[in-house]
């Protein structure tokens, strides 16, 4: 019996781990094993190392040099944004996306907002960021009526927030939004489309998953990324299957 003990022990431990693996680790929990699994994932990324990125992307950074020369983020005048859109647009980009929330009026001069809106309109392919306040829980919510203004906007900008089909598929709980922060109406109307720019860090505060749809009022809203891709695939010879 004493000779068999290590073998029995090993089998017990094996079964224990098998049960753990079968009950998929829940990414929203703060458990020790989940945490370990996340760290392990990070280590695998670093082992693999960086990879060659797609050549289709280019970032225009609102960096330290920009804020020091044009004014800090708080008082940054929007005529700069108008000039930027015109400059980028002259090169013929497939799509321009703003990972910036323009929900309030320009503090120095409202004429700046008009200039920005006109530049956005001229470009015709600008996607603006919106922000969804998030609830702490995932789940499902009841379908609510859209306000007439939002209804008009989502149709015109082809956002089409989809209503979830009623079913008992437990795997489809979504990140829930509690409030939608839209861009300034003037800018929103001029833009080609809009998508959310939220981050969704996991329980440890790290970002490893990023939802591409957030449910708000029973409807699914797409991310800035998806809305940009939608423009991109329509306007270029590159095709994305699926």
């Amino acid at each position: 019996m004493t000779r068999r003990l290590p073998a029995l022990l090993a089998i017990t431990i094996t079964l224990l781990f098998a049960v753990l693996a079968a009950n998929r680790l829940d990414w929203t929990s703060t458990g020790f094993l989940t945490s370990l699994d996340m760290r392990w994932l990070d280590a695998k990324f670093r082992l693999r190392g960086p990879r060659t990125p797609s050549q289709d992307l280019i970032i225009v950074g609102l960096d330290d040099r920009t804020t020091s020369q044009l004014g800090s983020a708080r008082v940054f005048e929007r005529h700069h944004a108008a000039a930027l859109v015109d400059a980028i647009s002259s090169g013929g980009p497939a799509v321009i996306g703003f990972d910036i929330l323009y929900s309030d009026a320009d503090v120095s001069d409202e004429a700046n907002d008009r200039m920005f809106a006109e530049a956005i309109e001229r470009a015709g392919n600008v996607v603006l960021g919106v922000y969804l306040d998030l609830k702490q829980t995932t789940g499902t919510s009841e379908v609510e009526e859209l306000s007439p203004e939002l209804q008009e906007l989502v149709i015109e900008k082809q956002v089409f927030p989809a209503v979830r089909r009623n079913g008992n598929d437990a795997a489809t709980t979504m990140v829930q939004g509690s409030d939608l922060v839209m861009p300034l109406p003037e800018l929103g109307r001029a833009a080609a489309s809009f998508g959310f720019v939220n981050f969704h860090p996991d329980a440890e505060g790290f970002l490893r998953h990023q939802p591409q749809f957030i449910e708000w009022g029973g409807r699914l809203y797409p991310s800035l990324d998806l809305q940009m891709l939608k423009r991109y695939t329509n306007s270029s010879s590159v095709t994305v299957t699926k």
Partner: protein
């Protein structure tokens, strides 16, 4: 799951002020996906990620879009769970059967080997070669 391509500055970056003031040739934007956003740690729009503890938010969006274009996103599917489960059982029983018959040194050697093998097999989803 976001399949991160690297730390900050993995994607071509130009400065807003340079573009606005014409120091960047606009033709670089031709047919590109252009993302405009804060790219300074002081502006606070940063997220901690496996490669970079302070990845600017715009770069996260770049990674996500890139994943979708190149279809290299990571998915934890039922398949992954089944593979995990299968390997755990195989290795577990192998250990149970053979380990007691070995000496300590050989046990350590084979245990390390099993661990490496398990890692190599299960990380196929994130380490699989894709021609890049």
């Amino acid at each position: 799951m976001v399949n991160f391509n690297g730390p900050s500055n993995t994607y071509p970056l130009v400065s807003w002020v340079d573009v606005e003031e014409g120091r960047v040739d606009p033709s670089i934007f031709h047919d590109k996906i252009v993302i405009v956003g804060p790219h300074a740690i002081g502006l606070g729009d940063v997220v901690p990620t496996p490669f970079d503890p302070v990845l600017p938010g715009v770069e996260l969006h770049a990674n996500v879009i890139d994943n979708i274009i190149s279809q290299r996103y990571l998915v934890r599917s039922t398949m992954t769970t089944m593979v995990d489960l299968g390997l755990i059982l195989v290795f577990g029983f192998a250990v149970a059967l053979y380990m007691p018959k070995m000496g300590a040194t050989r046990s350590i050697f084979y245990a390390s080997l099993a661990f490496l093998l398990f890692t190599a097999l299960t990380s196929g989803c994130s380490c699989s070669s894709d021609g890049s």
